[in-house]
Amino acid sequence: MPTQEYLQAERAQLWREELRKTIKNKERTDRIRVKMPEVDAKIRSRTYDEVNMGLTPEQAQAEAQRCLDCVNPTCITGCPVEINIPKFIKNIERGEFLEAAKALKETSALPAVCGRVCPQERQCESQCFYTQKLGKEPVAIGHLERFAADFERESGNISIPEIAASNGIKIAVVGSGPAGLAFAGDMIKRGYDVTVFEALHELGGVLRYGIPEFRLPNDIVDIEIDVLKQMGVKFITNCIIGKTISQEDLKADGYQGIFIGSGAGLPNFMNIPGENLIGVMSCNEYLTRVNLMQAADPESDTPVQMGKKVAVIGGGNTAMDAVRTARRLGAEKAMIVYRRSEEEMPARVEEVKHAKEEGIEFLTLHNPIRYEGDERGRVQRMVLQRMKLGEPDSSGRRKPVAIEGDTISVDVDEVIVSVGVSPNPLIPSTFSGLEITSWGTVVVNADTMQTADKAIFAGGDIVRGGATVILAMGDGRKAAKAMHAAMSGF
């Protein structure tokens, strides 16, 4: 948490005091949450344009007025990167949008990204006074974050955060996903000489190859990374740590600290009959072809199958991204096949809602047991086992149980398997001195993100298995703070 003194001093500023007096609390809390405008489902399900359109300045100010500027802003505790939420929201309320954007950048390397893809309902907004005490809809913190970041970008006046004087210490970052970018942003601010190594030909990790344009336009990722470049972070693409450059090479090149943010890029398959038929693929392959390689663009050399009857297996955000992508690529029938019920789905509520509006069918309590192909080896049918919910398991979720003998057969011409990812094995298999779990994750001290090798820190999915963008960013920030403390001898 930011210190209480700092938060109180910010809150005590004259403009904040005066702003609080302009509207009575009762009046603020009586207002209804502003709704984010969206592109109509019929139109958007055939285009790649962003679904959420963003708030207008008037809408943003109206929503900002709902925030009570609490003495004890509990919302901050729900944010993994501890954004000073009341400070940026009150700046929106008074119309100082660029100041609001600056406040975001004090702690977040990618505000335009987070405002779009964070599950705020489980983070900041779940800790809002409205949710906690009033039983009302929370202040739309995510939408306001997005508004401030977008306003700054569109204004052409992007501010570059202040950088400490260079200390000449070289730090290597493995992976340019959200964990690595957050870490790099915090370390460059502290004066380190930071280089990010990326295996692919483009930067951003899952922000680039995973999350589709209709949820997170690539231009926005580019611009946020560009700010890091302007701050002095160096980026090297097409470089695989462990293959192109070894751990020893990094040490020999004078890198004194390494942060590993190599993610969980290894797709899981179910190992059922027919999974290697043509047309059955991992969500990573499908989304990489479409998002990173732009395969739907006729000018792109990378092909992608455009299925007419597409099934996506799984119930997470990635499954929603894949099925909505398939719809946009022309699928007449696009289905989610999930072995539990909708209540247990890990996907964001908003994504499920958007998917349904776009005509996605949900086959919950169904689990594929085999795929069948035609004489050319192309998938043409899936056999699904009907399921029911049994007793809660150790995690508290009710376990899916097969209803013996109750199966159905559904015609498909494309199947996308989205049943989770495992940590990328490149680092565990090529680095020495790390402690690796049987799941392939890197063991760290949970407070400092330091590994068994004192010079190496790690965060994001390589530590957690598949998790969220913002948790990865939180890890990156935590690791930067701890590495700086270790290096400056605290």
Binding site: G265, N271, N284, E285, M293, D301
Partner: protein, 260 residues
């Protein structure tokens, strides 16, 4: 980075490039491959590294014109740059003194086999190489292969050079003649399938270097998956070399046709 230093046309179809890539040149071993992308709309395509010069900081790729992407690479000239080049990828070939090693290479597969022939020879093996192609013009790298082989047998489909016949005929005459401890085969999938079936009959352990469809080449998508011994493997990280007698070549041949 990744400037083309030299270009040599082996034939109308086959081009050899020497490319600046100091980091890859330093860390690559026999059997490793790279992913190549040409142009902003280009796709990522795998090519095995034929040789490298760590002092000059270059790697050599031998590329056959088979489609749009290989054609794009082959149109590049010395001084041009490869847009993206990443590697070395995959597992290196397992090299040791096996005794007698039979290397069976078809068409452009001879290029990725060359570093293996060299490494096997340097490890003290007796190396017998069978080179095969449709006709004389498509036999490549013969002089370099001879340099590191104790014996070279050339097979052409039309008999325009060496013996007339398929690669399997060359392989079979060696196996019938003398004990072979290991066979390494690289070439079109259908060729490797038949070599594998033949060596299985004679119980000669065989390694094949598989050339499946790939996207990233780093293990994050599974486009390259094959069934080996009943288990799904990713060619880009678990391979590209596998025990040929365990590979489901029919499934692999089927999957290669996914975008045809």
């Amino acid at each position: 980075m990744n400037k083309i230093i030299s270009k040599e046309n082996f034939s109308d179809k086959v081009v050899k490039f020497e490319i600046e890539a100091p980091l890859i040149a330093k860390s690559r071993k026999a059997g490793h491959f790279v992913m190549v992308r040409v142009g902003k709309k280009g796709e990522r395509v795998p090519y095995t590294i034929a040789s490298s010069d760590p002092i000059k900081g270059t790697i050599t790729l031998v590329i056959q014109r088979v489609g749009k992407s290989s054609e794009k690479v082959c149109q590049l000239e010395p001084g041009d740059y490869i847009t993206d080049l990443v590697g070395p990828l995959g597992k290196a070939t397992h090299i040791e003194n096996f005794g007698t090693v039979l290397c069976a290479g078809g068409g452009v597969g001879v290029a990725p086999m060359l570093p293996i022939i060299e490494a096997m020879k340097n490890a003290g093996n007796k190396v017998i190489t069978v080179l095969a192609a449709r006709n004389k013009d498509l036999i490549i790298l013969e002089d370099q292969v001879r340099k590191f082989s104790d014996e070279v047998i050339v097979m052409t489909d039309d008999g325009s050079y060496g013996q007339k016949g398929l690669i399997t005929a060359g392989v079979e005459q060696v196996i019938q003649r003398e004990p072979v401890n290991l066979c390494v085969t690289i070439g079109p999938a259908i060729m490797m399938k038949f070599v594998s079936e033949l060596t299985k009959k004679y119980n000669v352990p065989t390694v094949a270097s598989l050339n499946t469809i790939m996207v990233d080449g780093t293990g994050m998508c599974g486009a390259c998956r094959v069934t080996v011994g009943g288990v799904t493997k990713f060619v880009c990280v678990d391979g590209p070399e596998f025990d040929a007698h365990q590979v489901d070549f029919d499934e692999m041949l089927m999957r290669l046709r996914a975008y045809n």
